[in-house]
């Protein structure tokens, strides 16, 4: 054998783990030296990749891939098919979403609030953002936050997922709660979050994948307060306690800028290697980049690329909608948003998905997206049927009267027989054929899958996002996942309730979840021990009660929240199908290439070719698609509102000018309180503005804050708004109520006013009205109460 062959053979033994001293036996000295050298090179420590950078690069690469492709007409057509109810809900979302603005507390606020938007302007320093997510304790279980025990100590608590503090030797210790001092650094992992409480009442909320170092700390209440933080990456929300002492400071450094605040509420977002942004809800923040400083007032945001100066302050917006175009310009809810290198994407949003976007109104009237996060995955071309297997062929099955096609790629649970209850999912093909991708049985064992954070591995039991997952010899584990990694888990829920993994695969992005379980609670939602967040977009079957067996699906959001898009009763069998598409022809009716049998044109209305429509179809025994009705989907609804506190500096008969420089036309403004024309500047107000896509302000509500009265009005508290409700337009029946922010616009539209009614004492103040206008007893709404108390 030649020397190189011998060397390679010995190297293979080395690589298999054999000791080098054994391997060199019998070799000439020169060859032995080569092996020693190879062994030494192999032992040189290899650097590990920084997971934060990997995640950022992954997103950048995926985003770049999206930008290199033009939106195809087919994708734009939004051709999808969903079970009853889902489309209605999405339609309601498209038509009625009142702009989401609560991104300052998005990551820590229940998605119901996120999805329905609203600003958290009255968060006091003592306020603890709501913990949300599949693994978090319920509101009642969250311990009351304690302030830190001294001005030079901060308390880290409210931990969700994996949160670590760095030890003096550089290693990291995973903690549940900790007292931290100046010089210490802590970090959160994916799907994780925590809060940091200072002695003066200031609070920092850390989002997922965030690191913060306390550079200096003296949070005294009786003297100058000094808090300096360094945030190399991630997202934080700051609720800074007011300090009357001179020389007080609250400073956040990022690699690209420094923000200084005094008594304010703001957020800092840092993308590693890209830059950072500061946004203000209340008070003021001075942001300094390389050389210049900009002052941010409520409602404003600035971005700072590394080694650059801050951008001119812009107004931030937050909205939700369906994605109809990706690329350099995204169209969300019909509104174009430019993207840039630093735009952050979460959940790999794509065409057809429902997303939340937050961004900036630029001076030229365009919008720039800073962050786009998926709220609900697209149902493009997809169908779902729950039902009973009636016939099983090689290429075709019949489920609840509906023929479905099977091919080699169809994944079918083992052991399914005629008469079993199944969940069928697949793709609608041209002409309307239903090609099946998955058939899951929920006869005895049920299927689950979700993306989660590996928190512990104890023998065969893994704890993934708080859920104990059993593994056995048949479990396929790929990608060498370790504690701290994101994984996708698929498996079966055994009759004894055990979640047994079939596959555990390391992944980089959060994804959807789905499982079947028993409803343990409906307020808040808990199914099979998993806490679920719901939004007004969540489709819920009617008739669900505690103990019902339901199929749940949704998306895992960046902060670890499990946001349900559908909670469906397993007994429900769906024959009515709904799909969305572009009208190809109206005589005869063709939508997305599918011919429709339309018998009652009276129920269709004025729809022309090219319109985006939602079609309700009853599939007949002869496979004809009989249309029940067709609805036009309006895509040009306004979808952006912002809310902030500010000060009116001038009032004329044409416009109202705010301190932040914004002019509000009088004709669209509703004013509550005394704001006389020509009045002196300096009147504090709460402003709600809603825009059309062309930036035109279509609605403004300006409420004068009466600083003389105590307590001041509390227009918004953790997703709830106090309003004066006037039933049936009868002012004599006015009463003070709190409503979800999502319902605010509707209430304002029918004449209710922001804030408590005058002389509301003695009126029924305990009534709440939910999104649907249904009254309910405050005492029963523990969730809302819990949120408020925190």
């Amino acid at each position: 054998m030649e020397a190189e062959q011998i060397l390679q053979a010995r190297l293979e033994r080395l690589e298999a783990g054999e000791a080098v001293d054994k391997i060199i036996a019998g070799l000439p000295e020169e060859e032995s030296e080569l092996l020693y050298l190879a062994a030494q090179i192999r032992t040189i420590p290899k650097p590990a990749r920084n997971p934060v950078i990997v995640q950022a690069q992954y997103r950048k690469v995926v985003q770049a891939a999206k930008q290199t492709r033009a939106p195809s007409p087919l994708q734009f057509a939004l051709k999808w098919l969903v079970p009853v109810g889902m489309a209605l809900v999405l339609f309601a979302a498209l038509a009625g979403i009142w702009g989401g603005i609560n991104w300052l507390s998005n990551r820590n606020t229940a998605p119901e609030q996120i999805a329905s938007s609203g600003g958290d302007l009255t968060k006091t320093p003592e306020t603890v953002p709501t913990q949300a997510g599949g693994t978090t304790p319920t509101a009642e279980q969250i311990p009351t936050p304690n302030k830190s025990t001294g001005p030079q100590i901060a308390t880290l608590q409210g931990v969700h997922g994996i949160v670590q503090v760095q030890n003096p030797d550089g290693s990291w210790a995973t903690i549940q709660t900790a007292e931290v001092k100046a010089g210490q650094t802590f970090r959160t992992w994916s799907l994780s979050s925590a809060q940091l409480f200072f002695f003066d009442g200031s609070v920092v909320s850390l989002g997922a994948n965030t690191s913060v170092e306390i550079e200096s700390l003296n949070a005294q209440q009786d003297g100058p307060r000094l808090i300096t933080l360094f945030q190399p990456y991630g997202e934080t929300s700051h609720s800074v306690a007011p300090s009357l002492a001179e020389n007080s400071s609250y400073i956040v450094h990022t690699p690209s800028a420094t923000g200084e605040a005094k008594g304010t509420t703001f957020q800092v977002s840092v993308i590693a290697d890209e830059g950072s942004s500061f946004a203000v809800v209340e008070g003021e923040v001075a942001v300094t980049g390389q050389q210049t400083t900009v002052d941010l007032t409520p409602g404003q945001i600035t971005s700072i690329e590394n080694n650059e100066d801050p951008s001119e302050p812009a107004f931030w917006v937050n909205a939700q909608g369906e994605v109809t175009q990706t690329g350099e310009v995204w169209i969300i809810g019909g509104v174009p948003y430019q993207t840039r290198a630093g735009t952050a994407f979460f959940g790999n949003p794509d065409i057809g998905d429902l997303v939340s976007v937050r961004g900036q109104l630029l001076t030229d009237g365009s919008r720039m997206a800073d962050r786009i996060e998926i709220l609900s995955q697209s149902f493009v071309n997809q169908f779902k049927i729950m039902g009973i297997v009636e016939a099983m062929g090689v290429m075709r099955w019949t489920v609840t009267g509906q023929e479905i096609q099977i091919n080699d790629a169809t994944q079918i649970d083992e052991g399914i027989e005629v008469g079993d209850q199944v969940l069928v999912r697949g793709v609608v093909q041209e002409g309307g054929a239903l090609l099946t991708t998955d058939i899951n049985s929920f006869q005895n064992e049920t299927h689950f899958e979700f993306t989660g954070l590996v928190e512990q591995i104890k023998g065969s039991i893994w704890v993934i996002s708080g859920k104990a997952i059993a593994t056995n010899q048949e479990t396929k584990i790929s990608g060498d996942p370790e504690v701290g990694d994101l994984v996708q888990v698929k498996g079966r829920i055994l009759p004894d309730g055990t979640w047994l993994a079939r596959e555990i695969e390391k992944v980089i992005e959060t994804d959807h979840f789905e499982f079947i379980g028993i409803v343990g609670s409906m307020n808040p939602w808990v199914v099979d021990g998993i806490s679920l967040e719901v939004s007004k977009l969540t489709q819920k079957s009617s008739g669900i009660e505690i103990g019902s067996r339901v199929h749940v699906e949704g998306v895992v959001r960046e902060d670890g929240t499990w946001l349900a898009s559908a909670i469906q009763l397993l007994d429900e069998q769906t024959q009515l199908l709904i799909f969305v598409g572009i009208v190809d022809d109206v005589d005869p009716w063709v939508v997305n290439g599918i011919e429709l049998d339309v018998t009652d044109t009276d129920r269709i209305g004025n729809i022309v070719e090219g319109s985006l429509v939602r079609v309700y179809v009853q599939i007949q025994e002869d496979d004809a698609w009989l249309v029940e009705r067709i609805e036009l989907i309006e895509t040009d609804h306004f979808n952006g509102c912002i809310i902030f506190r500010d000060v009116v500096v001038a009032v004329s008969d044409e416009e109202i000018t705010l301190q932040n420089g914004m002019d509000i036309p009088r004709e669209v403004a509703e004013i509550f309180g005394n704001l006389d024309e020509g009045s002196e500047s300096g009147v504090p107000v709460i402003v709600i503005l809603c825009f059309r896509p062309n930036q035109e302000i279509i609605y403004a509500r300006i409420t004068v804050i009466d600083i003389e009265s105590e307590p001041p009005p509390e227009p918004i508290t953790e997703g709830k708004v106090t309003i004066c409700h006037i039933p049936s337009g009868d002012p004599s029946k006015a009463n003070t109520i709190t409503v979800d922010e999502s319902a605010l616009a509707a209430h304002l539209a029918h004449g209710d006013s922001l804030g408590a009614c005058d002389g509301s004492e003695g009126q029924n103040n305990d009534t709440q009205i939910d999104d649907k206008g249904d009254k309910k007893n405050d005492k029963n709404d523990k969730n809302n109460k819990g949120n408020k108390d925190k």
Binding site: A3, E4, Q5, L7, Q8, L11, E30, E33, L34, Y36, L37, A38, Q40, I41, R42, T43, I44, P45, K46, P47, R49, N50, I53, V54, Q57, Y58, K60, V61, V62, Q63, A64, A65, K66, T68, R69, D273, N348, D350, A409, Q411, V507, I508, E509
Partner: protein, 178 residues
């Protein structure tokens, strides 16, 4: 179901961003190791690795599956980027040669390899002294951790040629480090 690489590449070429993401996940570790083995700076390697994949995105439509294997194509992108980087870095003021920490001691015998811990700096300096192909094989085999056939695929050589380069490379390295 895991797509075969050919299908994955085709999906990526069709503009499916998720497929591009999967390609990143499949290859980023090795590309990072390779870049690090060339530039000996973990942070710079992070940056360049990102650039490799951004370039992959912009050029993936030009990749022909019947040509070089995909991994070899990626390594070629990485190699070109590193060359670009070094070229640019050279146009900036360089560190004086006398400040380079590694000083070769040719009088030392083979024992020096065992007594003195081999550092990546020493290795990098020594790799510069040997034939380029040999150095490339040493990097890919022992720093990146590839098998002979994987190295052969990336360098577009036969396994026998790689074995020969490996042997000669180690011998040249040993001589260079003395």
């Amino acid at each position: 179901m895991v797509d075969s690489e050919a299908i994955l590449i085709q999906r990526a070429q069709n503009g499916e961003s998720k497929a591009v993401g999967e390609l990143y996940m499949q290859h980023h570790e090795q590309i990072y190791r390779y870049v690090w083995s060339k530039v000996n700076d973990p942070n710079l390697a992070e940056d360049l690795t990102g650039e490799v994949f951004m370039r992959m995105v912009s050029r993936i439509s030009t990749y022909h599956p019947t040509g070089v294997p995909f991994q070899a194509w990626l390594y070629r992108i990485a190699r070109n980027l590193i060359i670009d980087h070094i070229r640019k870095a050279k146009s900036k003021p360089a560190v004086p040669l006398e400040d380079v920490p590694f000083i070769k001691d040719r009088s030392a015998g083979p024992a020096i390899l065992i007594e003195n811990k081999l550092t990546v700096e020493k290795l990098q300096e020594a790799l510069k002294q040997i034939d380029h192909d040999q150095a490339e094989v040493i990097r890919l085999r022992f720093l990146v951790g590839l098998q002979i056939n994987e190295v052969a695929e990336r360098l577009q050589k036969t396994a026998a040629a790689v074995k020969a380069l490996q042997h000669r490379g180690l011998a040249a390295l040993r001589f260079s480090m003395r």
